[in-house]
Subunit: 153 residues, 2 copies
Amino acid sequence: MTRRYSDILIYGASLALLLFLLKWFEVKFLLYSHSIEVMIGAVAVVFTVLGIWLSSKLTKPQIKTVVVEKEVIVEKGPEFIFNESAFLESGLTERELEVLTSMSLGLSNQEIADKLHLSVPTIKSHASNLFEKLDVKRRTQAVERGKYLKIIP
Amino acid sequence: MTRRYSDILIYGASLALLLFLLKWFEVKFLLYSHSIEVMIGAVAVVFTVLGIWLSSKLTKPQIKTVVVEKEVIVEKGPEFIFNESAFLESGLTERELEVLTSMSLGLSNQEIADKLHLSVPTIKSHASNLFEKLDVKRRTQAVERGKYLKIIP
DNA sequence: TCAAATATCATACTTAAGTAGGAAATTATG
DNA sequence: CATAATTTCCTACTTAAGTATGATATTTGA
């Protein structure tokens, strides 16, 4: 904004200077040759250029590209969504899933038995069955598989 | 682009017309008053306005506000970011972390030993040490702990 | 209702996991 | 360079995990 005012001042000063020069030319040169047309033509050209220059200076700040970058960050939380179809496909029973879930918590067979009010052999039985259904050999693998299938958190 | 050329043509025509008019004024009016300064001033003003008009016409297509709405959807997936400080705090060694990582894959001690080209007793030794450091009793618990601490994927 | 699936528990066994204690080699680190 | 930490491996042992087989009760679906 301040530049615009300064430009106008420069333009005004240039105009004044040019008028002064023209006055001098008028007396010293033009009067002898009487070529007023040439004089007027020169003035026209000079002031056209000046006008273009002023205009460009005044309008330049308007020639700007406004780039609005809207960044929307969608946070895909690691929330657990039970995969019903994977559970059905696995062929696991509800009890087996309970045992598997307890296994994923790091519980021992004894602790799982206590938790579910069952005996250790029962847990072992469920464990063996679910291992075969998940096609794994160890409980750690079963937990990995269960998490991969999204049937346990 | 075509508009610019037509504008220049209009400007040229206007310039010719004005010069013609000026010539007429020069003979009919100016010679009597002898006010060449006024004449030149008028020409200056007219051509300045013309210059500004031309410039504005030429630059108008550039006065365009381009609003680019960039919608960046950053999917914050469940990607694993190793927690350096948690690893340091745990006091685990590099080897122990390797063993823990292999455990999380569901590998047995024998398989880990084969993978790392070590003996089973060595793996057991590392296992016992890392269990104590992580304050757990079983490998399944260790894996849980490791994932919680974000030192394994 | 009756067979099939599920769930429970048991015994006996094998294998893997984990503990304890020690020893030797390697690698950092002051 | 010497000490501490790490890594490696061992033997011997205990405990937990997992397998196999079978029995009994319950539930479920045709």
